[in-house]
């Protein structure tokens, strides 16, 4: 059962070791040692971290480390493309470093630690005893040795470039992380990009003194509005996600072939060039596989195997003075820790909001919308609520706090018997916040 849960992580780990063994083919023993030491260290680190900082913080640290490795891949990919296309690019020191045993050991150790930490996150919270973690470390060590044995059996004409190695290792780490919803990077990337696009368009209009939407034709503003949608976030994130692997592939494809100008036999020249082209094609296999793995990570991120609590909004009305009252103990128990959604309609206007008891034991009342996304609302999973529009996870501890993709908090009064909300304030807040983000779609779900 434990191993079944860990299957995607262990498979990723085997792939990582295989790629490292081939990428540092002269340093197999260093790679083996680094990998076998690194993985258990990562498992132990994740366990200690989750005990020291229970909740979302420990996950956030590990997710940031995975994000850091993605940034490193970006740097490596840009360097690779420069190295292939720019004549004066300094290569020698970089190649010396990449071929050193220190580099092989460091890469194996750090990859092992990150992979171990990610895998341990799958068990944290579910298992509180040591055996599952020991089993994980043992299985990973056996798999590492098996992967290195498989690597030895692979044909020598199947090389892995340093940039290709980087792409494959990071892609597999991202795939492994995407299996755990709180470590997934693609969804936060989508959300950050959407926010960036929104801010950029706004700043661009202001900086270039372009008239606001008040003066622009509606159809044109509709097109501009597309830049605020989650389509931009999704497609932009896809571009950011795949670009490093594509750059690595292009860098290999654009590598200069060996100079044959000094050879006077045409057949020999052609043979040499053909050999160079064939080797280049073999080196392309790994970046292409990395793209496939990255695509699988996106799929897992978009379609996580988690079900959300998403109650149907209950219609609610206000008193003649505009006060909405929701009793704490009525048809629903506001203090049960679950999300309770309500729909308020008045004078042709409507607003959706929810009431939730946070893990700290405080009631919070929020719009079923954030200030950034279209108001598709929120669902609740273990320890989090999720924005259905951009798939961002919001820890329950932070619900009730404004900012980002958090639900917009509503002012309310908590009394012994229930909560009181001002109906006009609710409608106005929905109008000014939620509907402004729904220009294109107009109105939420």
């Amino acid at each position: 059962m434990v191993l079944a849960k860990l299957a995607p992580h262990l498979l990723s780990w085997a792939g990582i070791v295989l790629a490292m063994g081939r990428g540092f083919s002269g340093r197999r023993s260093v790679v083996a040692a680094g990998a076998i030491v690194g993985f258990p260290l990562g498992v132990a680190g994740a366990c200690l971290l989750s005990r020291a900082y229970p909740g979302d913080f420990s996950f956030a640290i590990i997710r940031d480390i995975v994000g850091g490795s993605f940034l490193l891949l970006w740097g490596g990919a840009v360097a690779a493309i420069y190295s292939s296309t720019v004549r004066e690019f300094p290569r020698s020191w970089g190649e010396r470093l990449a071929n050193s045993p220190f580099c092989a050991g460091a890469v194996a150790l750090s990859s092992g630690m990150i992979a171990g930490a990610i895998s341990a996150c799958r068990l944290v919270g579910t298992y509180n005893t040591l055996p599952p973690f020991l089993l994980l470390a043992l299985a990973a060590s056996i798999l590492a040795l098996a992967a290195l044995a498989v690597e030895r059996a692979l044909a020598a004409s199947f090389p892995v470039s340093h940039s290709g190695l980087m792409a494959s290792v990071v892609a597999l780490l991202l795939f492994s992380a995407s299996s755990i919803i709180r470590l997934d990077l693609f969804s936060p990337l989508t959300m950050k990009l959407m926010k960036f696009s929104h801010d950029f368009v706004h700043q661009f209009f202001e900086s270039m003194l372009i008239p606001d939407h008040l003066f622009i034709r509606t159809y044109l503003w509709g097109y501009i509005g597309l830049l605020f949608g989650n389509g931009v976030g999704f497609w932009g994130a896809l571009i950011l996600w795949f670009t490093p692997a594509v750059l690595v592939a292009l860098a290999i494809q654009w590598e200069r072939l060996p100079s044959v100008a000094h050879i006077r036999q045409g057949a020999q020249r052609r043979r040499l060039l053909a050999t160079g082209i064939r080797a280049r094609r073999f080196r392309l296999v790994i970046p292409v596989l990395a793209m496939v793995v990255l695509a699988a990570a996106v799929y897992r991120s978009r379609f996580p195997s988690v079900e959300y609590w998403d109650p149907k909004p209950l219609p609610i009305s206000a008193s003649p003075s505009g006060d909405i009252f929701i009793p704490k103990k009525g048809d629903v128990d506001l203090e049960d820790g679950k999300l309770h959604k309500y729909l308020f309609k008045q004078g042709g206007r409507e607003a959706r909001f929810f009431v939730l008891m946070t893990p700290a034991g405080k009631l919070t009342v929020d719009l079923d919308a954030c200030a950034i996304c279209k108001p598709d609302g929120y669902g609740q999973a273990e320890g989090t609520v999720i924005c259905y529009y951009c798939k961002t996870l919001i820890p329950l501890e932070t619900v009730g706090q404004p900012g980002g993709c958090n639900p917009i908090p509503l002012p309310f009064t908590e009394k012994e018997d229930g909560v009181h909300i001002d109906g006009l304030t609710l409608l106005n807040m929905w109008g000014t916040n939620a509907q402004s983000t729904a220009r294109v779609k107009g109105g939420g779900k």
Partner: protein, 425 residues
């Protein structure tokens, strides 16, 4: 050039400098994204106030300028080499170079290269062959665009000043220094073009300070005393006269009401009292725009705390009296909330857009249809130095070059058929 200067030149003219600097800013952005939600604004603010970041950002336009110099120098050297005027070894300028230990004779080569579509020039001891169009002008345009874009961003970040003013019809144009001309008329019309739905103009009379008559439109923004006039929002400046029963509350003031378009609500708080009035504009039944026609009728809701006392409607110039309350709006003027912005970086960014557009329009067809391919043969006393480079179609060009070398070495120009067009795989 001394060694430190050479090192500095190498750094500021390197192709890696701009991507590195942009990468640093990207990293800062990512770090800020963990701290704040308004990341872009925070990055701009942080850059504006941090000298080190300003200097770092300045490296990008500097680098672009240096790249133009460096690439121009390289291009001129190439041209000199192809013209046979260069005394230096040209191999560093080419992708591939080789020395052939054969007698210095190009007999028959020029004709055969010309037959494969190359233009050939033979001058003294050199033979140059080329085809296609150089990408150099596109590079210069692109680099000029980069220079303008980042110089514009830099200027904009460090020098931009903004004053938000209310431009009211019939009142002097508010400026940072005062003494603006009288705003004679504010006009809002339905736009006829594909972009603007509404056209706003503000006619300003000559001022006592010597400014001439001005008409401010929407885009491109007009300049007034060195400031761009950037209309932001439309509003109504109304004089509100209100009194409550007993005469204890009496209020008269010009209020800015952000109630455009019709239906949008704004509130006016009556100071020193629990009263506030919610205003909006009635949308006329004929569908006309009250701001355009000037026929404005207000919907109002008088509130005492959360309690609505009464609601009604009131045209400009009208008065509403009920239960001892009196509300009048003797005047309602068109008004535009306008930013007066001093920012010359905008001009540079516009320039950058033109450069990028021109570069893109030239780059695509040149790269696809007419990539530059060059080869050069320089004769020495006992050998021939041959060089080749291409900006596209490299394989085919390489094939021609290598067969030209074979041809020279074989020295059988008139006996061997020349298969210059075949590409080497």
């Amino acid at each position: 050039m001394s060694r430190p200067l050479r090192a500095i030149w190498a750094v500021i003219s390197s192709r890696a400098t701009s991507p590195l600097v942009i990468g640093v800013f990207l990293l800062i952005y990512i770090v800020l994204a963990f701290i704040t939600d308004d990341t872009l604004i925070a990055l701009m603010e942080y850059t504006r106030t941090n000298v080190l970041l300003v200097v770092l950002l300045a490296l990008v336009p500097l680098n672009s300028g240096c790249r133009i110099v460096k690439e121009t120098d390289r291009h001129l050297k190439l041209r000199r080499a192809l013209a046979g005027k260069s005394a230096n070894d040209p191999s560093g300028l080419f992708d591939e170079s080789v020395a052939l230990p054969v007698p210095s004779s190009f007999d028959g080569l020029s004709g055969r290269l010309a037959a494969t579509g190359y233009r050939v020039r033979c001058t003294g001891g050199t033979l140059a062959a080329w085809r296609g169009v150089s990408i150099y002008p596109v590079r210069v345009l692109f680099l000029a665009g980069m220079f303008c874009l980042f110089a514009g961003i830099l200027v904009s970040l460090t020098t931009r000043t903004t004053h938000r003013m209310s431009v009211i019809e019939g009142e002097p144009l508010p400026t940072a220094t005062g003494g603006g001309g009288l705003v004679e008329r504010i006009t809002l019309k339905t736009g006829a073009g594909p972009i603007l739905a509404k056209i706003l103009t503000m006619d300003v009379a000559p001022s006592d300070s010597g400014d001439g008559r001005k008409v401010f439109g929407l885009y491109p923004p007009s300049l007034y005393r060195g400031y761009f006039v950037y209309p932001r929002y439309i509003a109504i400046a109304s004089i509100i006269r209100f009194s409550a029963p007993g005469g204890q509350t009496a209020y008269e003031k010009q209020a800015v009401m952000n109630i455009y378009p019709a239906g949008k609500e704004d509130r006016v708080e009556i100071p020193g009292s629990p009263y506030r009035i919610l205003f909006s504009m009635i949308q006329p039944e004929d569908g006309s725009d009250p701001y355009v026609t000037g026929r404005i009728t207000y919907l109002f809701k008088l509130m005492n705390g959360k309690e609505v006392i009464f609601a009604g409607s009131l045209p400009v110039g009208g008065e509403f009296v009920r239960d001892g309350y009196r509300l009048a709006i003797p005047e309602g003027k068109r008004m535009v909330i306008t930013d007066f912005i001093q920012d010359y970086g905008v001009l540079l960014v516009w320039g950058a857009a033109i450069f990028f557009l021109a570069a893109g329009c030239i780059w695509l067809p040149v790269t696809i249809f007419l990539p530059r391919r060059e080869m050069l043969f320089v004769s020495a006393p006992d050998n021939i130095h041959a060089c080749s480079r291409s900006e596209g179609g490299g394989r085919k060009h390489g094939g021609v070059f290598h067969e030209a070398l074979d041809f020279l070495e074989a020295g059988m120009a008139d006996r061997q058929p020349f298969d210059g067009g075949s590409a080497e795989k």
